[in-house]
Amino acid sequence: MRGAHDPRHPDVQHRGRRREAVLSAFSVTELTRAIRSTLEQDFDAVLVEGEISGLKHHGSGHLYFTLKDEGATLPAAMWKPQVGRLAAIPRDGDRVVVSGRISVYEPRGAYQLIANLIKPVGAGDLNARLEELRRKLSEEGLFDADRKKELPAYPFRVAVVTSRTGAVLHDIWHVLSRRAPHLELLLVPSPVQGIEAVPGICTALERIGSLAGTPDEPDVVILARGGGSLEDLWAFNEEAVVRAVAACPFPTISAVGHETDTTLCDFAADLRAPTPSAAAELVSEERDSLLAALEDYQARAGGALLHLVDRRRERLELLADRPCLRHPEVAVERANQTLDLLSDRLERALGVRRERAHAALALAAGRLDALSPLRVLSRGFAAVEKADGSLVVHAADLHGGDALSLRFADGRVPARVEG
């Protein structure tokens, strides 16, 4: 296998300096390690395209798979931290480009690709899936305008679903505490990137939903994440997350990425905010302006009341100024005077009428006296009456033997017509 001359690889020789002097066989470990060094040095950053097969997501979080094409296969592994940053776990048969490095697994003498990033081949792929899902959910009515809940005018409790770490939570906290420190921020932490994002966000939204009807229920929910690539934001295009947003019983604002980023969550939410900070502003009416508004109401109410009282006082003063109220005795005097006047007139009127009545009576009495038959009789006349009392005016009315009554002023005498 080897001669007296040093058959070893110069590089190995160089690295294995300690043993250089003593010519001896490599141990398996030594050789394997040497090979590993060589490979790792020469292939420390590779980009390889192939089809995934035999994929296994191990309980430890690591990912094992084989990359293959028509002519060869390449075992590959991806460690948990990198797996966590994947937008989605690839599936067998997926065509992908993997970036990583080649290493050797010494116990098995096998070289493998240690993957750092896995991307689906063809950038159009994600967009096509996105469009397909958008159409499906849209046809289902998940994005309909009449599903949208109205945001409360003055929220007091704001639930925020976002990463526990990172700038987004800090940005939102900063806006809220500057503008509206009277609010309550309810943090519902969830990973917002990588394979844990989808179950995390769904769970977070479910937990928020379970607050409905309790004293802890929020007035509004913000689902937030900072900017990133389409892959970074992918969780917000996953069907489960989009449905969870639509199902949230509270008004929900989607604030994912930057202004130019659009995710399906934006469609499913009740409102889309261009950035997490903008979402925080949307839900926080400034405390100072609210206080100013209250101040204004109080001032208006006070002013109106004063005005009301003033107007009544003016009316009162106007009335109090009237002569009748200023000199009430005048009215009494005037009334007295009128009374006197009337009384005089009454007196006078009564006197006149009495005199007039007396005169009329005297006149009537005189006339009556003048016409009285008794008065005629007293001058020596007598009235002739028949037996029935009727007055005899003509001599021809009388016949012999008629019984008559002669009436004198002082009495009657019976008589009879002779012949």
Binding site: Y154, P155, P181, H182, E184, L187, E217, L290, A301, A304
Partner: protein, 81 residues
Amino acid sequence: MSKAQTFEQSLSRLEIVVSRLESGDLPLVEALESYEEGVQLVRSCRAELDRAELVIRRLVERNGSVQTDETSPSELFGGEG
């Protein structure tokens, strides 16, 4: 009714009360009652705003039930706040 609903209702009631007062044709007794109501509404609204520091709570699941724990900016963001 939530605090948000109460607050919104109080503000719209306040608008009505103040507008009525400003219309000026209220009997004095009613005007005084309206004023009293307005002042009371302003006071209760102001009480809701009377907090100088944002409260931060954190939703946690404990023994299968969802609870909220109060936390603080320093706890969340380190030394700041």
